[in-house]
Amino acid sequence: MILREHRQYRQQLITLTKLDLKKAHRGSVLGWLWAFIQPLILLFVYWFVLHVGLRVETTPEHISPLSWLMVGLIAWLFMADLLNRGTSSIRTYKYLVTKMKFPVSVIPTFVGLSRLLIHTFLLSLALLYIGIFGEGVHMTWLQLPLYMFVMFLFFTAWSLFAAPLAVLSKDFENLVKATVRILFWVSGILWNVHFITIQWVKDVLMLNPITFFAEGYRNAVLYQEWFWEDPRQLAIFGGMFALLSLLALVTYKKSRKELADLL
């Protein structure tokens, strides 16, 4: 049913993706540049705090801490964006639900697509930097599009699950936003999960899909590792993805007809 809705509204999906992009970057003089400046400032601040201020060790010797941080942070920004915006997507675009006939399931998708474009842009810049000034280009980069696509699917499934619930309850939306802030600190974006010596703590941390993706990106860009090299990790993630998709389908099916009455 969801796939059919997407096929039927694919034209509108493109229009709305463009709209969502345009909306995020208007009303300011620098406009589009902000999509680039904001992450750059963040990157600089975290790098400064970690390596000039705290002087922590985040990477094995042959990898520059800046490249390492850059790749993880870019992955994180995409995930955080989808967690936040995805969760409030239906509320943001409520006129599509209450004023016209439009399939609700398409809303999280175009919000996710617009973020994916920004993410692709940022990642390309990062790869350009790493390729020229950093660790160089590797074959393992080829798996990045796959990572991006799976990441997009995973967090769009999340949005499809969370956005209807956020309509039902404002508390839920606030809870998600508060959790995102915590997730940033516990997901190993700023510190290296592999440096943890207690095995079970490490195992628990690797259950976190955000850690999975951030580490996956680093493996692909910097460590020259392929995603199938850790099959256990892959299986755990696969299970979680399946569970999330199921939850998303159930919530969407249950709430779809009621959403317009509530907004």
């Binding site: 034209q11 909306k23 208007r26 508390d171 007809k257």
Partner: protein, 243 residues
Amino acid sequence: MMNQPIAIEFKNVTKTYNLYQSDAKRMLSMVFHFIKPRKKLANDDLSFIVNQGEAVAVLGRNGAGKSTLLKLITGVAFPTDGEIIVNGRVSALLELTAGFEPECTGRENIYLKASLMGLTKKQAILLEQTIINFAELDEYIDQPVRTYSSGMKARLGFAINVNIKPDILVIDEALSVGDIKFQEKCRLKINEIKEKHHVTVLLVTHSLDSARKFCERGIVLDEGKLVYSGPIKKAITRYKAIA
């Protein structure tokens, strides 16, 4: 009348709203089924047919279920029970607004709306100037819609909705906006698309005057039930009796 194609058919349609005391209770009720909502019956077992090209006024007091009925026709809301058949593209002005993107300009909203209604870019370009002229927005058309007054929004909404060639036009109270001249223009436009393109019109209004001018038929609702369906004159008499 007999062999005219059907535009809208309602078969025993019921719509109930589930009202909870708070959002928290609504959330909890998804898991705990013993938390029961208060049920509000907005449309109670409605059955009627609207033929293609007909103009029908929906009359009723506040809370009679008129807006719910329009939402069901538009496909925004879903019936709790019964079946609804709608043939053709519905263009709707619900609760006065057409659903604009507040951050975008009027012009961008024309394109957005056209695209969402399934028009191609080419068709939209052809309609753009007609819509702007009709809405009488002049230089405001390139300002963001959030800066518009409610009258301006309603005018733009109306202009878009009548001009994008709908099969069924649904208007909720929107005719009461604008000055007399604008209202007259709307009336002419609606008559024109009715005559020329055989558009079906559904009109919710409290102004019996415009109901009489626009519509040949009336549907009277009272507390969610259909109490009368027939010629507009009789419908108005009936409505006056319960109002």
